[in-house]
């Protein structure tokens, strides 16, 4: 059997810069295989965001071990982490975080710029991804000329442009209405099914978690529930709710 994409063993994250040390994540162990669609939910302050930062290689755990694609992450320095995020992980944020005054195409091409892909090649690749996500006619638009749903799709395009192993979305639908939120979640499902991309979505909305095949719930820094739907969460019934 293939080793898991993500393997977290006894991970702790403790913030010591306050008067009382805050244990944001307490002894979490978890394995996520390649091709899974995982939703992580929990109340605010439950440690799900902190955990996501560790999984996304934005932060190092205080204690424990984390391997990503078989590589021990805790031994990497800032520069190596940045390179890893750039090549293997795609981020989607609640507030899209597209650069203003920069065209969608150049926004999407930005991760490739950090890999020193030549301008023409990275613009071509960005256009390709935007077309796949139905924004092919908006290449030269600026973010503020688009609806929220379109902006989030562009942000997803930016996350996908480097062909990452993992797509990590932090409250991706938080700024969208219900209909648009459903569209974005469907898009994740599609990417997961068709392109076999591993998707982790952090959300506090449990009904959106239903799109995922696996649902992990955090509380007080620990995993209190980890359910895999027998049908992989991809039955018609669940998707249409």
């Amino acid at each position: 059997m293939q080793p898991p994409l993500i393997e977290v063993r006894d991970v702790w994250k403790i913030y010591r810069n306050c008067e009382v040390p805050v244990e944001a994540v307490r002894s979490v162990s978890l394995a996520i295989s390649s091709g899974e669609f995982v939703a992580i939910s929990g109340a605010s302050g439950s440690g799900k965001s902190t955990f996501m930062h560790v999984v996304g290689c934005l932060d190092q755990p205080t204690r424990g071990s984390y391997t990503f694609e078989g590589r021990e992450i805790t031994r990497l320095d800032r520069k190596q982490l940045a390179a890893l995020r750039n090549k293997r992980i795609g981020f989607v944020f609640q507030s899209f975080n597209l650069l203003g005054r920069t065209t969608l195409q150049d926004n999407v091409a930005l991760p490739l710029a950090y890999q020193r892909v030549p301008l023409r090649a990275r613009r071509r690749r960005a256009a390709e991804v935007l077309c796949e996500l139905g924004l092919g006619d908006r290449l030269k638009y600026f973010p503020n000329q688009l609806s929220g749903g379109q902006q989030q799709r562009a942000a997803i395009a930016r996350a996908l442009v480097t062909r990452p192993a993992l797509l990590l979305a932090d409250e991706p639908t938080g700024n969208l209405d219900t209909e648009r939120a459903a569209q974005i979640m469907s898009l994740f499902t599609e990417l997961n099914e068709k392109d076999k991309i591993t998707v982790i979505v952090v959300t506090h909305e449990t009904d959106l978690a239903a799109y995922a095949g696996r649902h992990i719930v955090f509380s007080d820094g620990r995993i209190i529930s980890d359910e895999t739907r027998p049908d992989g969460g991809q039955s018609e019934g669940i998707r249409t709710r």
Binding site: H53, G56, L58, D59, R78, K79, A82, A83, R85, N86, K87, G90, F91, F93, N97, L99, G100, R101, T102, L110, P111, A113, Y114, Q115, R116, P118, L119, R158, A159, T162
Partner: protein, 405 residues
């Protein structure tokens, strides 16, 4: 990220806030403009002094009577200078390192032409004087030994005096009167320009020494002597020979100081060049201070920009930018800002320099290396003052940065 992309991004982000960019760049523009204007004025002054040294010639000496001194007390106060014509002749014939020597006497008198009269310097010299001072005529001829021996009443006139006395009339063949004695103008001298002390070298009329002695001055005193070094002979050797000879001729004992001074004119000019240089450094320092003030402005605006764009920095870090990328991005912005300021500053400086040369009549010199200087200076300012904000941006924690509202 390729450097071109980084520069392109810098331009994009600077165009975001045009007013702020413009205002923050103003300090650099003013700083660079003042540096360039100062350099242009300084260069102009330096060139003028150099030209002056050249025109003064670097192979001749002035010998002046200085008075007898012993123990710091001038013992011959009120006594007329007594360097005699024979001194000059002796220097000319007995010093091997001296090519030619002439006595000289200068007075200010009222000179009358058939058109008007004019107060000017009249000077009696040997014809050798023209060789010593490298003075030529533009019209007519120089007076000669023949003129002097035959006591012909002739003179050569400087450009300024000619203009004062004759206006536009061709001066050769005209007559002037000094002490009611009529002289014929035989030569119009080429222009020598003005001296550092504002003296007009062209406001002079030269007469053959003996004619001058008898008909103008009425005495035999030589106030000053001029001597030129022989070809290839160092000026210092000529000076020593003259000194030894004059001490001997004036019968000075070992304890007595020289009663004359041998002055190397180029030394005087170099002293004036030194003064000019000091003055230029002072101006440059002030200009540099204004540049530093401009740099602080750049630092300020870059800090504001970093704070404003904290979330963008977080996003860039999340999608793969490392600290070096972020440092490069903000440093490039500061440098681009300064370089643009430097360019406009250069243009501004050229404009100010032109204005100065036009309104004040100062010599200014503008050359291409000053444009490079402007770019270099502004880039250094950008690097210096952009570094701290850029470094702060690069040290941001990606999670904190993403959370920043």
């Amino acid at each position: 990220m390729s450097p071109l992309t980084v520069i392109y991004e810098a331009f994009i982000s600077l165009s975001h806030n045009k007013v702020r960019t413009g205002l923050s760049v103003l300090g650099i523009v003013i700083g660079i403009a003042s540096v360039i204007a100062m350099v242009a004025v300084g260069e102009g002054a330096r060139q003028r002094v150099e030209r002056q040294i050249e025109s003064l010639g670097d192979d001749w000496l002035t010998i002046r009577f200085w008075g007898m001194q012993r123990g710091g007390v001038n013992r011959q106060q009120g006594v007329q200078p007594y360097l005699a014509e024979s001194d000059a002749d002796a220097i000319g014939s007995e010093c091997p390192a001296v090519r030619a020597a002439t006595p000289s006497n200068t007075m200010r008198v009222q000179v009358v032409s058939s058109f008007r009269n004019h107060q000017t310097s009249v000077q009696g010299v040997y014809p050798d004087y023209f060789d010593i001072r490298r003075w030529r005529t533009v019209e007519g001829r120089l007076f000669t030994d023949d003129d002097m021996i035959a006591l012909r009443r002739v003179c050569c006139i400087g450009q300024s005096s000619a203009a004062e006395l004759f206006g536009g009339v061709y001066p050769i063949g005209q007559t002037i009167r000094v002490n009611r004695i009529t002289f014929e103008v035989v030569g119009l001298l080429e222009t020598k320009g003005t001296g550092g002390e504002g003296r007009d070298f062209d406001d002079v009329i030269l007469f053959p020494w003996r004619v001058f002695q008898r008909l103008v001055a009425g005495n035999e005193i030589s106030q000053t002597m001029y001597a030129a070094a022989a070809h290839g002979a160092p000026l210092s050797i000529a000076r020593e020979q003259i000194r030894a000879l004059l001490r001997q001729r004036h019968r000075l004992t070992k304890e007595e100081n020289d009663d004359f001074r041998v002055v190397d004119r180029s030394v005087a000019a170099q002293a004036s060049a030194e003064t000019t240089r000091t003055f230029n450094w002072l101006l440059m320092t002030i200009a540099c201070i204004s540049l530093v003030v401009g740099g602080v402005g750049i630092m300020n605006v870059t800090l504001v920009s970093v704070t404003e764009r904290t979330r963008e920095i977080g996003t860039r870090m999340a999608i793969g930018a490392n600290g070096t990328h972020i440092l490069g991005q903000f440093l490039t912005e500061a440098v681009v800002l300064c370089a643009v300021g430097g360019l406009f500053g250069f243009l501004g400086g050229v404009l100010v320099a032109q204005l100065v040369s036009w309104r004040l009549g100062w010599d200014v010199l503008i050359s291409t290396w000053m444009a490079l200087l402007a770019i270099l200076f502004s880039t250094v300012v950008g690097l210096t003052f952009g570094f701290y904000p850029a470094w702060r941006a690069s040290r941001l924690d990606p999670i904190e940065a993403l959370r920043y509202e």
